[in-house]
Symmetry: C2
Subunit: 481 residues, 2 copies
């Protein structure tokens, strides 16, 4: 079936670039998702085909059972094409949920809502009252790891080759090796186990062509590092058996055994809520629904803002490396040509000014890699995270609806009054889980954006100062005339 996409922002094609002008709200048919460099080929309703920036469109859900991978922000900032990140925003979770055998559409919270017992011991996930509200239990020392040293390995007598990364956790300081497919395995386990309660962002996408290209490997490593750090920073995930196994296994045997155990884990899907133990007073369904509305609105707003920033970042990147570079080069050339006309009476200063503008052209074109890159990467990560929330929140909403039905079910004698109380208590637990997770998200967000903006502004200041400095130098040559 053809992938349909809805246009998020107006986009005006540049003539001669094989691009397609599209308008917000328009529905397109994606004809080629593998164009790379942040572009997809699409056909509009009038039959015109052309390239459209990935960030400007999102998959159109005319058939939500489709479960197809969508087009999403990719490595648009890389000139070498083809570093697409898997999935985009909203549809991300659907892919993952499809992988999880228990999920069809939204997982049914009913199984959990009527559960009476709570997990014991190590499996227990407590929630405390923190300064900002309900919070997960944070470890004394924050787990982190370094992903480094990508090495090409091979098996089957060199017939198949792969890249192996070295991951060194700060706890043991002992490196372990993992291939991309191991990360993918870890991702699947985390989705299986936590996705009903926690957003598990996608891994950077697998790439089909040019897998061993240096730039691509570097970029994937950077993104795997970002993903791993985010997992390590999470108080619940960092403490999970499966992540500990991934980071700490001592030999092939321990790894294999651990894998088998993780794959048999029973506390997965909605059952994760039965391991959550909020040491806080029970919330009534009204309070729960209020919180739900607030988070639902917040994640939607932030998702829009992040996409807006990505779209303008994408445009700006294209402008800097395209027309703006060209224009500064032209200015530089024009000054130099004029200076060469003046050659009879020698005018080297004007020629030097021309060269300065050519240098500025390269600075302008090279700048996005220095600052915009990190801004796009961080926002892209957040887009991925925010893309997981609708599904997490949908589970929550389904539970709220179930509890709303409870009165009716009691009247019909389908459940007892006691069952209803259990349902309400469990809904309160789910709400505390969502609140703890949102509070975790908020604190991460402040840290990440604060760091991002400081870095971005520092680089921007350097950029403008460098240009001013260069122009000053060019100006200085005139005074001696």
């Amino acid at each position: 079936m053809a992938v349909k996409a809805q246009v998020l922002y107006d986009f005006t094609a540049e003539p001669g670039n094989n691009e397609l002008s599209v308008q917000e709200g328009e529905i397109l048919t994606v004809t080629n998702q593998n164009v790379g460099s942040g572009w997809v080929e699409a056909r509009n309703s009038r039959g015109n085909v052309g390239l459209v920036p990935e960030d400007y469109i999102e998959e159109w859900d005319d058939d939500s059972d489709d479960g197809k991978s969508t087009v999403g922000y990719g490595g648009s900032q890389m000139e070498e094409g083809g570093t697409m990140q898997r999935g985009g925003a909203h549809s991300t979770m659907k892919i993952s949920l499809n992988k999880f055998p228990g999920f069809s559409k939204t997982p049914n919270p009913e199984v959990y809502l009527l559960t009476k017992s709570v997990a014991k011991g190590n499996d227990k996930l407590p929630i405390y009252a923190g300064e900002v509200g309900p919070v997960w239990l944070y470890p004394q020392i924050q787990l982190d790891c370094v992903v480094a040293d990508p090495k090409k390995g091979s098996k089957m007598y060199g017939l198949k080759s792969y890249i192996e990364y070295q991951i060194t956790p700060n706890t043991t300081n002992r490196p372990v090796n993992h291939r991309y497919k191991h990360f993918d395995w870890l991702y699947e386990r985390l989705v299986e186990k936590f996705a009903c309660a926690l957003p598990i962002p996608c891994l950077p996408d697998k790439q089909v062509t040019g897998r061993f290209e240096e730039e691509f490997i570097k970029m994937r490593m950077e993104r795997l590092q970002g993903w791993m750090s985010r997992m390590c920073r999470h108080p619940v995930i960092s403490n999970s058996e499966v992540l500990q196994l991934f980071l700490n296994y001592r030999d092939e045997k321990e790894w294999k055994l651990g894998k088998r155990k993780a794959e048999k884990d029973e506390f997965v899907g909605v059952k994760i809520f039965s391991t959550i133990d909020p040491e806080l007073p029970e919330l009534d369904p009204g309070q729960v629904e209020q919180k739900y509305e607030m988070y639902s609105q917040f994640t939607r707003s932030m998702d829009n803002s992040v996409k807006e920033l990505l779209a303008v970042g994408h445009l700006h990147w294209k402008r800097c490396t395209g027309p703006l570079q060209k224009e500064y080069r032209q200015i530089g050339k024009a000054f130099q040509n004029l200076s060469s006309v003046f050659n009879t009476s020698a005018y080297p200063t004007l020629s030097a000014t021309g060269k300065t503008y050519e240098e500025i052209a390269e600075l302008v074109a090279g700048q996005p890699k220095k600052d915009l890159h990190f801004l796009m990467e961080t926002n892209n990560e957040y887009k991925g995270l925010l893309g997981c929330f609708p599904d997490t929140i949908a589970v929550h909403k389904a539970a709220i609806d179930k509890v709303k039905e409870a009165d009716h079910l009691v009247t019909m004698n389908k459940i007892s009054q006691q069952d209803k109380h259990i349902m309400e208590k469990n809904l309160s637990t789910m709400s505390y889980a969502l609140q703890a997770e949102m509070n975790h998200f908020h604190s991460n967000r402040i840290y990440d954006y604060n760091r991002l903006m400081q870095f971005y502004l520092e680089e921007q200041v350097k950029f403008y100062e460098t240009i001013a400095e260069k122009l000053k130098k060019a100006l200085g040559q005139y005074t001696t005339m």
Copy 2:
């Protein structure tokens, strides 16, 4: 008859702007010259009609007797439309020559070539050996004037109104008043008298609509100032009776009498050469031709370079006030929107960063008026000057060709051997006039471009430093978090 224009540079239309994509060398039919703001409306051979930047095209001479005013660089830098400068480059002179009763196409230098006598006394224009070669006699004190204080006047009981400018020469320090039509009268006299030997640049164009608009009056005054200063700086023109009259007349009577006298001046057209008196050894026709080739090539090259700079300047102007401003505004908006999503936990610093980028948007859009404006104005002036050279040089070439025929004419007994010698001597005089003029042009050029580039770079440095400063301030707010 429809005005045809040839495309000088490729231009890619921006969709939705009513623009027309054109390619170098393409011939267009100009359908509306009065679009303003540096644009003309034109139709291509396929019948498509749209706007094209004036700088990108020049009049196409399929009928050189046409003598129609052409499209040329105008006040493309003014957002308020309609400040077109009269004529453009090459065809400029043709308009003026048509006004001059003695000229049909290229003035015939024969009248002068056989002239034996040289003007005496005040009318004599000596040429000396300067450091750089033959030079005009420069006055001890360089004449200059200030064009200021444009005032709206009226006549016919207020039925007709006009703008009167105050012109104050540095010699008398006594202001005189002139309307645009007086400037135009002066221009016509100067063309009549000097255009065979000196390039007389056009006046800024008359405007049909919105003549009293403040911005337009300011712009015209600036350009009249530039034109007058250039005339005053010229050693031959500054010393001419007609310019002296224009600057120094004491009352209406003196002005009227002087006007009548100037209109009856006999030493006009090619006769101007008979007033030129080079105190230098006679050049043989071979030397003359060599100089001619050199200047011919130089003026063509410089004309091309100046047009190239104008074209890229035009493009850059459009980019800064158009897409670039829009983009920085979008970046600013995106940061602010993101900050407003974060409102729950208050994130005023990010909002301040957003505002900073909105301010940068306005700086970017406002910058061309600060620096590019002067660059465009100066280059536009030079484009006008260089547009006069082909005709001045054509007179010269016609004289060279006549002298080449002289041997043949002697054989045919049409002229005497002595006549031939007079022709060669007069050709030498013409060559000295051209050399003196080119040397004057060169020294002006060095002065003008040196001043221009210093001014431009100073403003550019300020611009980038201001942005860096603003971003530093935005960055400073983060450290306190």
